[in-house]
Point group: C3
Chain length 134, copies 3
Amino acid sequence: MSEKTAVTPAGHTTPPAKFSHGVRKGNLLQVAGQVAFGPAVEGRAPAPVGPGLREQTIQTLRNVQAVLEEGGATWEDAMMVRVYLTDTSHFAEFNAVYDEFFADLRQPPSARTTVYVGLPAGLLVEIDALAVLD
Amino acid sequence: MSEKTAVTPAGHTTPPAKFSHGVRKGNLLQVAGQVAFGPAVEGRAPAPVGPGLREQTIQTLRNVQAVLEEGGATWEDAMMVRVYLTDTSHFAEFNAVYDEFFADLRQPPSARTTVYVGLPAGLLVEIDALAVLD
Amino acid sequence: MSEKTAVTPAGHTTPPAKFSHGVRKGNLLQVAGQVAFGPAVEGRAPAPVGPGLREQTIQTLRNVQAVLEEGGATWEDAMMVRVYLTDTSHFAEFNAVYDEFFADLRQPPSARTTVYVGLPAGLLVEIDALAVLD
């Protein structure tokens, strides 16, 4: 009945394995774990923007947003945001950036879980999201 | 069609950033990562109950349950419980408390994933849940 | 309206606590975190197959697949795969095995998040999945 479709924003780097940046089926849109990679550049390996947490957080959220939008959703449709940080000392700064980013949200913000894990060298944050479309 | 609503139990501490303790849209209810904070006390920072794993686990499960109930669900509706512990040596005790907590469940228990991560100082466990309402 | 049912493949080891290997309700199928345990053997504690990442990854994916199939789904229905590795140096080899495993997928692959966490001794990978059935 409802088709499963891959959701791939134009500028996104190619995933390092056989997975989709986003998948939509019915009214569910799942966004894969996004990191702070800037737009894909042919012939260059993906690289995170700036070394700082603020830049990486904003770029990561933008990358999630690009998948949401490509799938026909917005942050207003997000049910859950999963945040993976690498250092508990980053929590306060991360939250400050997060709150700025979502300052204009009109609907209730999504739920969120934040935990501290290991990530590949150079990455300070990874974020995925689940959205339910109207 | 289906509205997105925030689910906020009365006694819960205010989230440290722009996210909801729970979100419901359609028949999906997503509970944000809960920790062992006791009821909010005005003018005091949120603090976990007792230092031990048993107390923290029970309080964390109660906090998840409060969101489920505020959203019109119960544990019987839970599809997935995500458990974040900080030490693999806690697994056996955690499971014992978990099984006690769910001793009276009438429907099949939810699925579960348990991994070991970093959490803010003083916290031994974080749990989130996804429920599908009838 | 839609019943919640436990999904338990025949050969799977008994979960170490009160949770289900899979749960289906409506068109949602949630697979619990699977590890590289081989088929259950009466009287023996669950043990992972082989010590290597390749063997563990294949067995873990097979265990997820068994739950999907027992619940009436296939990998084609998977929306999200959550991968928990223990060492960032495993990423490339894991991806190679992952891509082999999914070489024949006809629909868009699921979304995926990969993070690095602690797991019980001997386990190198844990994977869970969310599927939406037609």
